[in-house]
């Protein structure tokens, strides 16, 4: 995929997100759905951390997602 197209797709995605924000205020009593466990950004932190650790040791870009963490030469 050409680089320009990649960039364009990324900006369209961002635009889509921000267009959705258009000053729509959600009062607290309408946030019941957002409070559901399945609406958490990461409902299974343990599972996610285990996958991230493996991706970080298998891919050049993986380590960014997990912040500071040890673990070096292991499972190369």
């Amino acid at each position: 995929m050409p680089k320009k197209l990649n960039n364009a797709l990324f900006y369209i995605f961002l635009l889509f997100i921000f267009s959705q924000t258009a000053c729509q205020t959600v009062p607290p009593w309408e946030r019941g759905n957002l409070a559901k466990p399945i609406m958490q950004l990461s409902p299974y932190p343990g599972q996610t951390a285990a996958q991230n650790h493996i991706h970080a040791s298998r891919e050049a870009a993986g380590a960014m997602s997990s912040g500071a963490e040890g673990g070096g030469c292991g499972c190369n």
Partner: protein, 908 residues
């Protein structure tokens, strides 16, 4: 905690139904907010949990050149051979505990342990170079040794080869001898040279302290990760700021990691690895017999990230984030090499050809395998966005994520991720997900290099950076899996996860990956349990709520708003080392428990109960009896220290008051260090400590039924019937493919084992007492590796005194008898079958099955703390130290120096 604050601020009287509904929604929404920070609400503030993960890679393909055995046409002499290396497997466990000492303060501790072993790539070579050096018998590989410089075709210890002027490898199919004609085929292919790593262990622990204000929070975390060859210390500071009526949340963080490499390349790799062109940071260590390459280095990583999450509408939220990491120092991997071919000028001359012949072909008569050398700085940037939407009619949510990564090593990477979270009846949630990842190669990535240094010293590499690490190549990866989650009881969840991952050159986003020979796949399985300590109601070991001796603990945990005193149970606190001692008295009740057992054997070498000298001939002849025609090497690596850790998880359920069911998964890790005796005769021996050997993984899974036989007058008798399934590995190996680790470094028994027990307990006033007889009977003649561990019988008796309502102490006497191992696993044999019969011997005394088992007596000193009230009422912590008082080994073993048992239990 925002929920509490909001609700307490509301008027307490004149509650209309509408108002209640609004309050409910308000509380729910307030609870939702912290979850938007990336610290999910599932990542609760009052929680304990445990997770086990297993990772397993598929086998890599190995090719070799069969031209020596082929007659006639040799243009297709490269063929695949079976790969007998175990692929990489990793067993991990993760335990965590989080609680709020006060309303505003959060504290968390996380512990992780990885045990891994298997074959991983070291370098890349054309298959004709024979990098994996397979030993073939009738075309079937019987073993392999990575020989990074060996050329099997020419039986020389250097790599050589023909290449096109574009650098593609060519197979010379007729002869390379002087004066013979040359004929080239492009049938050669690249492959990775695999090195086998013995089991290694990583331990990581970190602590987090958090503070919450009304709209902000701050978290500070610090920890360390320790491996034999790599140590990392890290710390980070993360903050959160809610604004815009809590519609938006800003996250920010700063992190710092400082890591040291201390890698000793084993003898095999050291011999074949060149440090040509490598600027320092290595040296050699000699241990009396061998010389190994030591590589040291330090790296530092600084990281900052910013993230914004925003509620779009009542069903959707989105996030956007940015992260930057700066790394400096030794960023290479000490175990990765690059093959470097030294091009021969006017090579045609050495083949008796005119210099104009094959002008588009290059030839390298020699080469080396050089340590990889990455730049000493790296700047990494990443941008990410996500969108999460709730679909009301389906009670499901969908999440899409995208991440773009860029660094100054020339790597660009895209990650697309999609997840569907479906709520199901009966507390189940199913979450299938799919992920696509693609990266371009680092600018200095190359499968192999050429040197044209006329001096032959590879000086032209001195100022270059280079790596053949597959992780810096261009590739794509597709993975998918599912997480199944079930709420067993209020506040108790189990998660099961599975993921399959396939990496392929062709999956690279432009279709231009670095090579199919690096393709592989893996799968992972995770099982976790999480207990929300606030939500679980408790019936455990409650006490009369009249006195309050534990005031400081109560104030720490918040005075008893949740305490629910219940009937004082029989056997209030059996010592921590006693299993199967507890029965739930109420039908429908559950209990969770965790037990940690640690034992040490690092005393003198004993024969029976007498100390012996490891240099004496009788030790060599009897502790490591010679088999077949073995002449040297027996007992050259006797153990100097052994340690075992067992983590047991207990899930206890009472269908009725007289029957309890117990499931007990366990995770085992062991390590051993050895004395290396360096010369014969032994009187001149040079003794060195060798590196640790690690073994372990998931242990044998236990399933038990506890039946109450009789109870009355504060006394109870119950019987335990159960067995363990052979889920623990018994094939942990060292670097030599046929060399199994000693029996006590394996994770399981390999057999189905019957484990009966009979427990008596009683109490009167503040005194309590008990006794137990238990056994382990192997129900099979032998396991898959042709041996059977000895049966065990154990008896113990204890007495205890409850000093006050939260503290008690125990004294216990234990007697244990275990028989010898019968049978034996395959011995350490040479890879070459012709010499195997002459070379069978035991390296260490614990490799010999006749040295196992014995008679032992111990005294146990125990303490038990039961939290009487407050948020954590009913939690019980017990510790016991077992001091050996009598030891008689069946053969030769290291003296026992004590054992520790710690347990936590909680009933609800």
């Amino acid at each position: 905690m925002a929920a509490t604050k909001l609700s307490s601020a509301a008027p307490e009287n004149r509650l209309s139904p509408d108002f209640s509904r609004a309050m409910q929604a308000l509380c729910l929404s307030a609870m939702a907010l912290p979850g938007m920070l990336g610290q999910a609400r599932a990542d609760s503030d009052q929680e304990a949990g445990y997770q086990y993960s297993h990772y397993e890679e598929g086998n890599r393909e190995i090719y070799t050149d069969f031209s020596a055995t082929l007659k006639g046409d040799k243009t297709n002499s490269i063929g695949k051979v079976g790969n007998l290396f175990h692929p990489i497997t990793v067993d991990s466990e993760h335990g965590f505990f989080r609680f709020r000492p006060t309303e505003e303060v959060r504290f968390a501790v996380d512990y992780k342990q990885d045990l891994w072993s298997g074959a991983s790539p070291i370098s890349t070579l054309p298959a004709s170079a024979g990098g994996n050096n397979p030993h073939l018998v009738n075309g079937i590989m019987t073993g392999a040794t990575p020989l990074l410089k060996r050329n099997t075709a020419t039986k020389t210890n250097v790599i050589s080869g023909f290449f096109t002027d574009q650098g593609q490898p060519l197979l010379e199919t007729l002869a390379t001898a002087k004066g013979k004609p040359l004929q080239f085929s492009n049938a050669d292919r690249l492959q990775q040279t695999l090195g086998y790593a013995s089991p290694e262990m990583r331990n990581q622990i970190d602590f987090k302290l958090g503070y919450d204000w009304r709209q902000t929070s701050l978290d500070w975390r610090a920890g360390a990760s320790i491996e034999r060859d790599y140590t990392s210390r890290y710390s980070d500071l993360n903050g959160r700021l809610d604004f815009n009526q809590k519609m938006s949340t800003l996250n920010f963080g700063l992190g710092y990691t400082n890591s040291d490499t201390h890698a000793i390349l084993d003898e095999g790799s050291s011999m074949h690895t060149s440090t040509a062109g490598y600027p320092g940071q290595y040296g050699y260590i000699a241990d009396g017999q061998t010389q190994s390459l030591l590589i040291t280095g330090n790296r530092q990583d600084g990281n900052l990230h910013l993230g914004l999450s925003h509620i779009l509408n009542k069903n959707a939220l989105a996030t956007a984030g940015f992260a930057y990491t700066y790394s400096a120092g030794y960023l290479s991997n000490a175990y990765k090499d690059v093959s470097v071919f030294l091009l021969t000028p006017d090579w045609q001359k050495s083949f008796g050809l005119p210099s104009t012949a094959f002008s588009n072909i290059q030839y390298a008569a020699s080469g080396v395998s050089a340590l990889e050398k990455r730049p000493d700085q790296r700047n990494q940037l990443s941008w990410d966005g996500s969108y999460t939407h709730y679909l009301e009619p389906l009670d499901a949510s969908a999440q899409l994520r995208y991440n773009f990564f860029h660094d100054d090593w020339g790597i660009n990477a895209h990650t697309f991720d999609g997840e569907w979270r479906q709520s199901l009846p009966a507390g189940w949630t199913m979450t299938p997900h799919v992920r696509y990842y693609s990266q371009s190669a680092a600018s200095f990535y190359a499968p192999y290099l050429f040197s044209t240094d006329p001096s032959g010293n590879f000086k032209d590499l001195a100022h270059r950076v280079f790596s053949s690490d597959q992780r810096l190549a261009a590739f794509g990866a597709l993975s998918g899996g599912v997480i199944l989650s079930k709420r067993i009881a209020d506040g108790l969840d189990i998660d099961l996860g599975f993921e399959y991952y396939t990496r392929a050159s062709a999956l690279q986003i432009t279709g231009a990956g670095s090579g199919d020979y690096m393709n592989y796949h893996y799968y992972t399985g995770n099982a976790g349990i999480r207990a929300n300590l606030e939500q679980l109601s408790h019936v455990g070991a409650g006490f009369d709520a009249d006195d309050n001796a534990l005031g400081w603990l109560n104030s720490l945990f918040g005075a008893g708003q949740n305490s629910s005193p219940s009937q004082r149970p029989i056997a209030p606190a059996a010592p921590a080392g006693v299993q199967f001692s507890r029965m739930l008295q109420q039908s429908g009740a559950y209990a969770l428990g965790y037990r940690f057992l640690h034992d040490n054997q690092d005393g003198a070498m004993l024969h029976g109960s007498q100390a012996v000298n490891i240099l004496s001939p009788s030790f060599i002849n009897k502790a490591c009896p010679l088999t077949a025609n073995a002449k040297t090497g027996a007992c050259s690596l006797p153990p100097s220290g052994n340690s075992h850790n067992v983590h047991q998880l207990e899930l206890l359920y009472a269908p009725t008051a007289w029957l309890n069911l117990l499931i007990m998964p366990q995770f085992v890790s062991s390590y051993q260090n050895s004395d290396m005796i360096g010369s014969t005769p032994r009187t001149l021996a040079h003794i060195e400590t060798r590196d640790y050997q690690y073994g372990g993984g998931l242990g044998d899974l236990g399933s038990y039924a506890l039946l109450k036989l009789w109870s009355g007058g504060g006394q109870q008798l119950h019987i335990g019937q159960g067995f363990t399934a052979p889920t623990g590995a018994i094939d942990n190996k060292s670097g030599i493919p046929n060399n199994y680790y000693a029996y006590n470094l394996q994770a399981g028994s390999g057999t189905w084992d019957y484990k009966p027990s009979l427990t008596y307990s009683g109490n009167f006033d503040a005194w309590y007492w008990g006794g137990q007889v238990n056994g382990t009977v192997r129900m099979q003649n032998h396991n898959d590796l042709n041996y059977r561990l000895g049966d065990i019988v154990q008896g113990s008796a204890w007495g205890g005194y409850q000093w006050n309502r939260w503290l008690s102490g125990t004294l216990r006497a234990v007697y244990t008898a275990q028989s010898r191992i019968s049978g034996a696993h395959p011995l350490n044999v040479s890879a070459n079958p012709k010499v195997a019969a002459d070379n069978i011997y035991y390296y260490g005394s614990n490799d010999a099955p006749q040295n196992y088992g014995g008679d032992f007596a111990d005294l146990g000193f125990g303490l038990s703390v039961t939290i009487p009230d407050g948020k954590f009422a009913g939690h019980k912590l017990s510790f016991e130290w077992l001091q050996p008082v009598y030891t008689y080994f069946n053969g030769y073993q290291l003296d026992r120096t004590g054992a520790l048992a710690a347990s936590w239990s909680f009933g609800f």
